[in-house]
Symmetry: C2
Subunit: 335 residues, 2 copies
């Protein structure tokens, strides 16, 4: 397995996905990795250093993987650019998130915020955004640029919505799902659409259908991420249980638990959860209501909807199998 | 004079520029203003509010003005989109700058940072960046997207360079000019290039030559801005003298003054300039060396170079006259 492919191992079923995707997929991921490294190295010493460190820090590369799988064919320049652009937008957001959260570490490495301060990190994020659009512009497809800029706008809206709702006592499931859609799913959707746009043998209707597939797995991914924050275990997720609760971020497990346990409705996170031990205790109370099981069920429903979206187009069996594995994979991490 | 045109009145010679640009220019500026308002109003309540407030806060609209003047013809949709996109990138940077500077006011109005906090402001900036590229993608020109994304990357590099050089005792004139080029001039250059790209009757060679014109007036603009920070008067500039000195930003007047006055070389801004009165006193010392006159001369040299760049192409006399007025205008603000 290549280094690039191994970096995608946040998916428990990565080996199966890679097997289904074949050597073309591994080649695409390697090319995207090389291009990300190039971008980090080619833009001046100060910024280049921070960008390069960010880009080489890896991560799952799940979004590039999805671009290649939706492309379906041997990765051409357009598909590689799309994979790189989607990852750049994702990383730009992470860099800005780290500034706002004053986060010292991400994926076990020092953040740009910690290493170089908030100004450097803010501008590194801005730079990564710019590079994403430059990368797509090079493909000559205004459609692709529009797809990514719309996703990027949605992302900003979703992030803002999350912070506007922090500590709130009355976030509904519906509002939570809208937030997941904006904050997470639109970029997954864009990854799928871009794959379809550049896929050499694009199947008719594939942009819309793969877009719908991406949106659904994006929502499932976010719900499952939020379940992991409550369920842990920390030795698998790499962070304390209840970090969202400590930040005041209201996620589906808490929303569902509040419906089931009246005492939780009146609990004010601001005063009740002020340290990791209290967060841990609240995670147990949430789990006791059965909310985690229900939230997982909800995530699985979106996975089913994602797979159903694939019924609408006539994909090669191998491509479809790989996409289904990814859909299953987003809710089976650390399982 | 339309409201949109009046907003551009940071240029002392605005009336002359508008007269030279004619009713087409006023119409273009009005259309850009309407489009900016639409963008603010169409993207969800939280973000829309902050974006709309930012976009309606006005400012000189100097960059859109330049796009239209370089376009030369009646403003079509592409030129309006380009004018809007350049202004969006400019405003995104201002919003992020305000977060980093913890600035409560800009142009006499509350900043997004002050009104809604650093998270809202960070994401509002990200949103404005995204909208800029969506706006350009709608024109169907990958060239235009690349032009703006390259300028936007340069801007991030320049901002970072400025903060990396803060408080430094040995910033050279050359490094200062490189910083101005990245931080300011590349976006002026992009404004000119975009105008030329969309100008219906593009003159051969105009993209390169107008780009060179834009770069030169951008550098002149930044030098003159830095002169105004030292010269004031505050009642015209709307800010205390020496705000750059208080931030540790090393600009051309100080660099030139340090060369002329050995005592200034050893002065550590961090300890010597800690309040507006000390900043005021240092501004006087800088002025006493003659550095302001020399810095103004340097700005004028770039203005001459800008005008010389126009010699390379055969522009209609009216368009050339308007561009020359803008070039003169960037160093005659508050004169």
């Amino acid at each position: 397995m290549s280094a690039a492919a191994r970096q995608a191992s946040g998916l428990a079923q990565l080996e199966a996905v890679l097997a289904a995707g074949g050597p073309r997929l591994a080649r695409g991921l390697s090319r995207a990795e090389e291009r990300l490294a190039e971008i980090g190295e080619s833009h001046g010493e100060e910024l280049g250093l921070h960008a390069a460190n960010t880009l080489s820090a890896g991560g799952k590369r799940l979004r590039p993987l999805i671009v290649f799988l939706c492309g379906g064919q041997a990765p051409d320049n357009g598909t590689v650019s799309a994979a790189v652009a989607v990852e750049l937008v994702h990383m730009a957001t992470l860099v800005h998130d780290d500034v706002l959260d004053r986060a010292p570490l991400r994926r076990g490495r020092e953040t740009v915020y910690k290493a170089a301060g908030r100004a450097a990190a803010t501008f590194t994020g801005d730079f990564l955004f710019s590079r994403a659009f430059a990368e797509l512009a090079a493909t000559g497809s205004p459609d692709a640029v529009k797809t990514l800029s719309d996703a990027s706008s949605a992302l900003a809206r979703g992030e803002l919505m999350q912070r506007a709702d922090a500590w709130s006592a009355d976030v509904s499931s519906e509002r939570y799902i809208s937030r997941c859609t904006l904050k997470t799913a639109r970029l997954f959707e864009a990854a799928c659409r871009l794959g379809a746009i550049f896929g050499r043998a694009a199947v008719p209707g594939s942009v819309e259908c793969l877009g719908a597939f991406g949106e659904k797995i994006g929502i499932a991914f976010q719900i499952f991420d939020d379940v992991l924050d409550v369920s842990g275990p920390p030795e698998r997720t790499g962070k304390h249980r209840g970090t969202d609760l400590l930040d005041g971020t209201i996620t589906l497990p808490l929303i569902l638990a509040r419906d089931r346990e009246p005492n939780l409705k009146d609990l004010d996170l601001r005063t009740a959860v002020t340290n990791p031990a209290e967060a841990d205790a609240l995670c147990d109370r949430i789990a006791d209501t059965g909310a985690l099981t229900d939230a997982r069920e909800e995530a699985l429903t979106y996975v089913q909807q994602a797979k159903a979206a694939l019924d609408e187009i006539d994909l090669p069996a191998r491509q479809r199998r790989a996409l289904e594995l990814v859909a299953d994979g987003v809710v089976e991490r650390y399982a």
